[in-house]
Symmetry: C2
Subunit: 465 residues, 2 copies
């Protein structure tokens, strides 16, 4: 499924210059290019013409300067775990692999913040913080790089309590399309000084610049943390429990829905024995007394909706195991069917519309010709379908495409968004237009202003040509 | 102190067209223009050439379209309570007064959000919400319009717990520089769909477009709320209590510092009898037990630092009185000296640097030739000086300018910002450059892309000429 030759010719001078500068950290090997042309999505491989492994912001800037002079596309690459073809080199170009930029530049326990190079992953950061009493909460399923997470405005299971990358990035160091390096903000918790460039680059998917360093908020590890799993007689009952919890303002740290198909997949993949039923995974953070209060309130809501017993993860190890099972949902789906391709898609709606949105989507799936577990960060109104597809069967992809479009249209009609956390990438450019209308013209104007030659990850978010 | 004639000539055709459309809601009367040319800051009056009172987004758009055709500046006006000359018509032009756009378009108690026209003030909104069990927390000192608060990225006493306008605006309806109307986002709590236009317009001070409608997050009124006042032997002791509280992750709703000079001013203005000493104002929100826990923790920190007894505001009425006293700090300063002009300025630094930043600023003030109480949202690392000046004495303004510059330079050197919440306006354009360096070029590029003729509130944030 490799796509055709690059749209823009790459001069041999550019490659000579990059090779001279980066030596063995510059590669045009087919295997390296293929690896960098495919993310965790269903999108076809689109290999870059070459890959540079950068070791510093200055090396990123030098690469961008050379590419800019040659008007050759630049595609930033973290861990390749994006879900909408974000790193596919659809117009060829040079991939900048930031995965070796793994320095943790600074941690301030007093200010509850840190600065890391873009290649540090969320687990590496939390490993580093282990003895500090602090943690970083944003946790997409994959162990993604923090630069990539900023670039895609990633989120995860803790967002309902701690926010997404939008709320948790304090500042970025960004290499612009001409190689200039800017820092978007200082470290103050709030600022009214000019345009919010931090938030402009968060979620820009490499189309406005390459994120090279990230300054993040950190949080004290709560005094008490308790996790539980609770099965429900129906998806509706589970979702009603979520809506009641959010509307009551319970500061739940995590509240995740897995439907019966997904629970079955998780049981098989992680060798667990949960009930094969619509299930909520909970986590509560706070003081010991505060957590008790939260648990009491939420248990009442669950009971009102016919929920079963709360099955508690007592030890830290059990808690980690429980959440690993949740994070492995994608891989569990993949393992459902040998050789399967997984197409993961997500939408997000106002919480009052969530029951209806999920119910109608579930009805679609019941009548569908493909399997797609429902799993979601339902406290945010956000849920996913993971289509489990036969890569050799285009009819299955067509069916997934139809169901995805129906789900997105439904979410938009409910004043929701076509993606809560996966981003636009290649796959949702048309839905972006459906969602934002004339506002997309403003996005285009910003893109043209900051990247007049359209070399920064072209073809993603916006089609400029 | 009226400034000279407008830089750009206004055609009589534009005025004829506006008069034809708006009738008595179009005015060129001197008193109306003067009123719209001066905010609550020390900046000179700069009246617009005319004022339009808009009643709808479409009327705002029609006005902008006419001004755009004539290349005449447009200055949005809410309540005129900005603090850096944001509404001064320094290049003349047409002021669009949005204060009559006061419809509350929608409240969703289920989704904890609402949409209002830009002219609704924060107190009007909370009055409207009174019986719903919800409230909107962002509270700058003045009863500002929510459109103006979004435009200046306003904040206030609750930001330490609930965030600023950055976190609390879900979507905006914006009239662009050519009169097109966009909505920046749908109502989902999170989205990864394209550039974050909401955050781009929040804090853009009318320089990229006119905010006509605002969709806001709301919060359930907490089960328990308790407020207290506690005096300290020194500013250092008070600030140390704040730093300990924040570092311990206590979810305090408000934690405000007033120095002895400010307490004296507040006592006189509000006829209160607090100790004339560095003082913290606290508020705790949560469940009854949760609030008790928070109080216990913070009282220990205060005691460790030599704080006195907590003086509690028992009733809602007492609590409101306490916070009104805090919100009136600006007016209390003004009342310290008959006929005084108040120059309010603010900075924000990482919390670990706050003690040093305030201590050095206090040392400056002790040796200064002007009076300037210190008051601050110290939980965010944010504090203010309110210079109380004789408008007839330029030497006092020079002294304030010197002290302000020293405070800003100090904050920037500590990786802080030149303004935590007042904005750049006219007064801090040079400090913006000092803070952001090359990133200001990115802001300029965005400004040029969205407002090529520089008609949107020209001269604010960025000097484009």
């Amino acid at each position: 499924m490799t796509v055709a030759a690059p749209v823009r010719p790459v001069s041999s001078k550019l490659f000579d210059d990059l090779r001279a500068r980066f030596g063995e950290r510059f590669s045009t090997a087919a295997a390296v290019r293929e690896h960098h042309g495919k993310d965790a999505s269903y999108h076809a491989v689109a290999p870059p013409d070459a890959v540079v492994y950068a070791h510093s912001t200055e090396e990123v800037a030098a690469t961008v300067r050379l590419c800019a002079a040659a008007k050759v596309p630049v595609i930033p690459f973290g861990t390749g775990t994006s879900l909408e073809g974000h790193i596919a080199a659809v117009q060829g170009g040079v991939c900048i692999d930031l995965s070796q930029m793994t320095r943790i530049l600074r941690v301030s326990t007093d200010d509850l913040d840190c600065t890391v190079e873009a290649g540090v992953t969320r687990k590496q950061l939390n490993q580093h913080l282990r003895d500090s009493g602090l943690f970083f909460p944003v946790d997409p399923g994959a162990d993604a790089s923090l630069g990539g997470m900023a670039a895609t405005r990633a989120s995860g299971t803790n967002a309902v309590r701690y926010g997404t990358m939008r709320e948790n990035v304090l500042a970025l160091t960004v290499v612009l399309a001409d190689g200039r390096v800017i820092r978007t903000a200082h470290r103050a918790r709030k600022s009214a000084a000019g345009y919010d460039l931090t938030r402009l680059f968060v979620g820009s998917e490499g189309t406005l610049g390459v994120i090279a360093e990230v300054t993040l908020r950190l949080y004290g590890i709560p005094e008490a943390m308790r996790s539980a799993v609770c099965a429900f007689p129906s998806i509706e009952a589970a979702v009603a429990t979520v809506v009641a919890t959010i509307q009551a303002g319970v500061p739940v740290a995590r509240i995740e829905l897995l439907d019966a198909v997904q629970m079955d997949a998780v049981n098989r993949y992680a060798k667990l024995e949960y009930a094969v039923a619509p299930t909520l995974f909970f986590e509560f953070h706070g003081s010991a007394k505060g957590v008790d209060e939260q648990v009491e309130t939420v248990r009442d809501f669950a009971a009102d909706n016919g929920g079963g017993e709360f099955r508690w993860a007592a030890s830290t190890e059990d808690r980690n195991k429980l959440w690993q099972a949740r994070h492995d949902a994608y891989y569990a789906c993949k393992a459902l069917r040998s050789g399967a391709e997984v197409w993961a898609t997500d939408v997000c709606v106002p919480i009052s519309r969530l029951p209806e949105c999920i119910a109608e989507t579930a009805k679609d799936l019941a009548a569908a010709k493909v399997v797609a577990p429902i799993v979601g960060h339902v406290g945010d109104g956000n849920f996913h379908l993971c289509f489990v597809l036969d890569p050799a069967n285009p009819a299955e992809f067509d069916e997934a495409k139809r169901l995805n479009a129906r789900m997105v249209e439904r979410a938009l009609a409910m004043d929701g968004t076509c993606t809560g956390e996966h981003g636009i990438g290649l796959g949702k450019t048309e839905f972006l237009i459906a969602e934002h209308g004339e506002a997309v013209a403003v996005m285009r104007a910003v893109k043209r202003a900051l990247d007049p030659d359209n070399i920064m990850n072209p073809g993603k978010i916006l089609r400029m040509n």
